[in-house]
């Protein structure tokens, strides 16, 4: 019974941990730094790592390309978040971009 409880506790604690490495907000350098509150877009790209082996190493470039496509006139504010979702002998790196399109 004690071992079962221990096993359940371990199973619960080992689920879904994450680590946010970086989250930064930047404003554009337009003349008066005035935010033009246009459409807010959200882009998320990720790469799966299994024991350190990865296949899609260009996920950040893809996110950047999507940002350029979604905001053809540029952005007035960008929030970039870089995080990792942990797993069993594997993890997922994610980049999340939120931006206000001009």
């Amino acid at each position: 019974m004690k071992k079962l409880f221990l096993l359940l506790t371990v199973a619960m604690l080992s689920a879904c941990t994450s680590s946010v490495h970086m989250s930064q907000v930047d404003v554009g350098s337009n003349s008066a730094n005035e935010l033009e509150l246009g459409k807010v877009i959200e882009i998320e790209k990720s790469q799966k790592n299994i024991l350190g082996f990865v296949y899609d190493t260009n996920y950040v470039d893809q996110a950047y390309k999507n940002l350029l496509l979604d905001c053809p006139n540029g952005t007035s504010m960008v929030n970039v978040e870089y995080l990792t979702n942990h797993g069993f002998l594997s993890w997922t790196d994610k980049i999340r971009i939120k931006a206000i399109c001009l």
């Binding site: 371990v10 080992s14 970086m22 907000v25 930047d26 730094n33 002998l89 594997s90 206000i100």
Partner: protein, 146 residues
């Protein structure tokens, strides 16, 4: 007696070890030519907990060797189940910093911002921590001229 001494030493390290840690900082452009500046701060945080480290500490201070071995096994299982790069202690909610952009927009009624500084930091007490994302900045107060 040695176990008691170990426990006291472990607790002392936990208490003395409580400190702030800077992980990342980014400073944006600062424009002081548009008007007076009013500072603002946005701070979001989340409870960080390193379960493997906690189990390892438990194994170190356990009285019986069988409990110690069990806890070491638990620490090992937790380590391989939460694999990957870590900044600070792991958190159980990866979306805690999602609202910083909207909070920054709300902070400035004038909608004119400059000097945004993004800080990723933590306050650690052993295996427990507060994982923080802080944004400092300035609202530009433009003077109305007729």
């Amino acid at each position: 007696m040695p176990i008691k001494l170990k426990s006291i030493l472990g607790l002392s390290f936990l208490l003395v070890g409580g400190c702030s840690q800077l992980h990342h900082v980014h400073i944006g452009d600062i424009d002081q030519s548009q008007g007076t500046l009013t500072p603002f701060t946005i701070k979001v945080n989340e409870f960080g907990f390193d379960a493997a480290k906690a189990a390892q500490i438990g194994a170190e201070v356990a009285k019986s060797s069988s409990t110690s071995e069990d806890l070491e096994l638990v620490a090992f299982i937790l380590t391989i189940s939460n694999f990957g790069p870590k900044t600070g202690n792991p958190v159980y909610n990866d979306a805690y910093a999602d609202e910083v952009l909207s909070e920054v927009i709300k902070a400035c009624p004038s909608k004119k911002l400059t000097g945004l500084t993004s800080v990723r930091e933590a306050t650690n007490v052993g295996p427990v921590s507060g994982e923080v994302v802080r944004i400092n900045g300035y609202c530009i107060n433009t003077t109305q001229t007729n």
